[in-house]
């Protein structure tokens, strides 16, 4: 069993007749991994593979020794996923209910749920908004809530899909800081080069294939050249 290790063996994903990812063979064990690429390059499908939201048509994905095909539920306890559009990720009507939602699903008792909600909201400056209705939050607050709702479940790996895309500059800076300070392993797609430049490994996806796999500076330079 490979602990703290993600592997993709000969992985292909197709939707109907359209192949989105082609024969990926990767071994991911860094603590900060970013995936960049143009729209439609397969970034979102790639990260959805890692918690079993997308099952490969061919090949095998294992996360810390768990096959995504057969251990979907266990994997989702292990991996937290933050979606691109936080509006669709916030499920419950109020801030505290949304934070509690995942914890209730994990079967955690009321007292601990309360403690974790308090701790997380205080840590991320949302305590005053505890009873606020979710749709009245600003874009930055919604993204923060989406991240908090995942962090409160204490996953080992955090997967983020373009976490700063819909934010203004000050919220981008805030979210970047939070991501850099996360204790967990992070795998993220992004177009935000300021966020990526502190990552250990960057994969450049192009038409469903990893065409560059290196450190952030070289990967960003390669990607810029590819796009111009």
């Amino acid at each position: 069993m490979n602990e703290n290790h993600i592997t993709l063996q000969d992985v292909s994903v197709a939707f109907n007749t359209h192949t989105v990812l082609h024969n990926l063979n990767l071994s991911l064990n860094e603590r900060r991994i970013a995936v960049i690429g143009a729209n439609g390059s397969g970034k979102s499908t790639f990260i959805r593979l890692l918690n079993g939201l997308v099952i490969p048509n061919k090949g095998k994905v294992t996360v810390d020794g768990l096959d995504t095909k057969t251990h979907g539920k266990r994997l989702r306890r292990k991996t937290g996923f933050v979606f691109q559009n936080s509006d669709n990720q916030i499920i419950m009507p109020t801030v505290e209910e949304d934070i509690a939602f995942g914890l209730k699903n994990l079967g955690i008792d009321k007292e601990e749920i309360e403690q974790r909600i308090q701790k997380t909201l205080r840590e991320y400056g949302l305590l005053s908004l505890r009873q606020q209705v979710a749709h009245l939050l600003s874009g930055g607050q919604k993204q923060l809530l989406a991240i908090c709702s995942v962090l409160v479940m204490e996953p080992d790996i955090i997967i983020l899909d373009e976490p700063t895309t819909q934010l203004d500059l000050s919220n981008q800076i805030r979210i970047r800081k939070i991501i850099h300070q996360l204790k967990q392993r992070v795998i993220m797609t992004s177009h935000d080069f300021s966020l990526i430049e502190r990552f250990e490994r960057v994969l450049v996806l192009h038409q469903g294939r990893v065409i560059c796999d290196t450190g952030p500076s070289a990967a960003i330079a390669f990607y810029k050249k590819l796009m111009t």
């Binding site: 918690n51 989702r76 996923f81 916030i90 499920i91 419950m92 009507p93 109020t94 979710a134 995942v150």
Partner: protein, 203 residues
């Protein structure tokens, strides 16, 4: 007083004697009052009920402009019902029908204003637990209700966005050009919500 001040959510954050009453009692009261209204056919009782409800609004600290705006927004529908009733009965019965609707609407609004969503969900969850032997699934019903409350304003926002973009293309007034994109966006959104529920370990 601006519109934001009168937002349902902002009023809900207040703290009055009605906010402090046990939510189960308030919901039972709402149920009993609705049933009571159904059997009452006297103008003086429906009018007195309305006055009592308005007094409750006042003592709860909710500006009377709030119920007024609510009724005003439904003026057309109420007028239609009133005229329709006039054809089948007399003016007093028509008035009773309108007052009954007004009482029901304002009282249920008052209860939702003074009961937080989480309190309401918890109470309904308890209620549906009693009905579990009859095949009710409290968790699923509770999630459905929460999702409805959460995404109604989002749907409203999407409707606004689609309507604005169609207006920009000169397609205002055509219901189909509003409904079709709205359905497509809503279906896409439901896929995303289902994924979001799944990643949060909902069984």
């Amino acid at each position: 007083m601006n519109a934001r001040f009168l937002d349902h959510e902002n009023l809900q954050l207040r703290n009055s004697f009605l906010h402090k009453i046990w939510p189960g009692f308030k919901l039972s009261l709402l149920f009993s009052f609705s049933s009571f209204l159904f059997f009452i056919n006297r103008l003086e009782i429906t009018s007195l009920s309305l006055l009592l409800i308005l007094a409750l609004y006042h003592f709860t600290g909710i500006p009377l402009r709030y119920p007024y705006e609510k009724i005003r927004s439904l003026f057309l529908i109420f007028s239609f019902i009133f005229i329709f009733q006039l054809f089948s009965s007399d003016i007093w019965t028509s008035l009773i029908v309108i007052l009954r609707f007004t009482d029901l609407l304002l009282f249920s609004e008052l209860i939702t204003l003074t009961t937080s969503v989480s309190q309401m969900m918890e109470t309904l969850n308890r209620f549906f637990k009693i009905l579990k032997p009859f095949g009710f699934q409290p968790k699923k019903i509770s999630l459905t209700l929460s999702l409805t409350l959460r995404f109604l304003p989002v749907l409203k926002q999407i409707t606004y966005e689609v309507s604005e973009s169609q207006k920009a293309r000169g397609l205002e007034g055509n219901l189909l050009t509003l409904v079709i994109p709205l359905i497509i966006r809503t279906m896409k959104m439901t896929d995303n919500i289902a994924e979001a529920i799944e990643v949060r370990c909902y069984n």
